[in-house]
């Protein structure tokens, strides 16, 4: 039992990798979501087609398949990726595809009058997005973004299968060394859940902050 603290520190090392992956994956996913989400709403059809293809492709297969493809097949095209890079790429693009639909849905959910008012005030395209549409749409997006972030966190477990030493990988190491199964896996389950709770609480806080002073009717 005295060894347990040593094993726990192994698992905590893994937790750091898991959190890194989650943060970097979320950053990439956020960018991908806005680019593809706005792309789908574009008036240029090639942009729309490209965004639709990206979204359908990444939503049509799972993170697992995409990760393996990124890790094993992309090097054959002269693009060798480290496990961490492949992980961030697959997680970010996968969750970004789900996020893109959220972005699109939130922007479309705003009432038409908002657009008409912008035209009446003679705002430019950019001003309309920046000052009128996005501040309101962002509040609508946040709850679903929170769920997506938790999905991404759960997806990070898959990178253990391409030998990245995240929390799940470390739990397997501990299992192999101690022969004890229940302790490492229960520990990481609790840790994953704790990270998920932190994520959902911070999103809820952010939601309160962003919706302050806005008169958005909750969908």
């Amino acid at each position: 039992m005295s060894d347990w603290s040593g094993y726990l520190s192994l698992i905590l090392d893994g937790a750091v990798v898991t959190i890194e992956l989650t943060v970097m994956g979320c950053a990439l996913a956020l960018v991908a979501a806005f680019v593809a989400g706005l792309g789908r709403l574009s008036r240029q059809w090639p942009l729309r087609a490209l965004a639709t293809a990206y979204i359908e492709f990444f939503r049509g297969t799972s993170i697992f398949v995409q990760l393996f493809w990124a890790y094993f097949v992309l090097p054959l095209f002269g693009l060798p990726l480290s496990p961490l890079q492949a992980g961030v790429l697959a997680l970010g693009l996968n969750v970004g595809a789900y996020g893109a639909e959220v972005v699109r849905g939130a922007i479309l959910a705003l009432p038409k009058e908002q657009y008409e008012a912008c035209t009446a005030l003679n705002l430019s395209h950019f001003q309309r997005m920046r000052y009128v549409i996005l501040p309101q749409a962002l509040v609508l997006m946040l709850p679903t973004f929170g769920n997506n972030a938790i999905e991404l966190l759960k997806g990070t477990a898959v990178v253990s299968l391409i030998s990245l030493s995240d929390m799940t990988f470390q739990a397997q190491v501990v299992r192999a060394q101690t022969g004890s199964t229940a302790m490492p896996f229960l520990t990481i389950l609790v840790l994953y859940f704790a990270i998920a709770l932190v994520l959902s609480f911070s999103i809820r806080g952010l939601e309160r902050k962003l919706s302050a002073g806005l008169d958005v009717t909750k969908a």
Binding site: S62, L161, F185
Partner: protein, 219 residues
């Protein structure tokens, strides 16, 4: 890197065996998720605070932790407790449990969406509890649930490659083993992706149709 059709032909029979297991796992997992989801939704509605509270947290916990880790947990720990399951059975239970927490939410929303007036009217015309559920509540609650349930079963289908981590010989595992054996990753990994896209893209289109069909008159 060039695509080798001869190799594709050589590995197709092996992959086809994997496809069969993938489909089995999806169908069985969906059945388990449907039943477990219903049980959890009913327990969640329990009058007893202790029961509904505990089930509520349990659902949050399962939803907030990775399916892969849950699969490991079931696969490695149940044998310690004297329950020896074949990998496929452990996988089906894992999938069913994980997605059951999502389907329970669908049932809950579906039942809550039937307006109070319907319950009161059923009481007013002196229907029994059984008649109320079978003839009034369920016929209204079930159709809006169908697209949401189908959506989760599609998601489950895409997650079945995770079962390869607990040695189920489904499509992904077969692909990995032929890839490792021949040291060619391009064809097997790509074919797995193509297979999932070939099923899920038409399924998504079908789902949109189902959604329109079952949305029905607004309540």
């Amino acid at each position: 890197m060039d695509w080798n059709w001869g190799f594709v032909q050589q590995i197709l029979p092996t992959l086809a065996q994997g496809v069969v297991v993938t489909i089995q796992a999806t169908l069985l997992g969906s059945a388990v998720a449907m039943v477990l989801g219903l049980i959890m939704a009913i327990l969640r509605r329990s009058q007893n605070r202790a029961v509904s509270g505990t089930v509520g947290w349990l659902l949050e916990f399962v939803r907030g932790t990775p399916l892969l880790v849950q699969l490991y947990f079931l696969f490695y720990i149940l044998p310690d407790l004297g329950v020896v399951l074949s990998p496929l059975v452990a996988g089906v239970i894992g999938l069913g449990l994980h997605y059951g927490t999502y389907t329970s939410e669908v049932y809950r929303a579906g039942i809550d969406n039937v307006s109070r007036g319907q319950w009161e009217a059923a009481k007013a015309v002196n229907l029994t509890i059984r008649q109320t559920w079978l003839n009034v509540i369920l016929p209204q609650a079930v159709p809006p649930m169908i697209p949401a349930l189908a959506n989760y079963f599609l998601a489950m289908f895409k997650e079945t490659p995770l079962l390869s981590a607990i040695t189920v010989l489904e499509l992904m595992n077969q692909a990995r083993s032929v890839a490792n054996f021949n040291y060619r990753y391009l064809e097997p990994m790509t074919l797995v992706g193509v297979f999932f896209l070939a099923i899920s893209v038409p399924a998504v289109i079908g789902l949109r149709y189902v959604e329109k069909r079952f949305r029905g008159p607004a309540q």
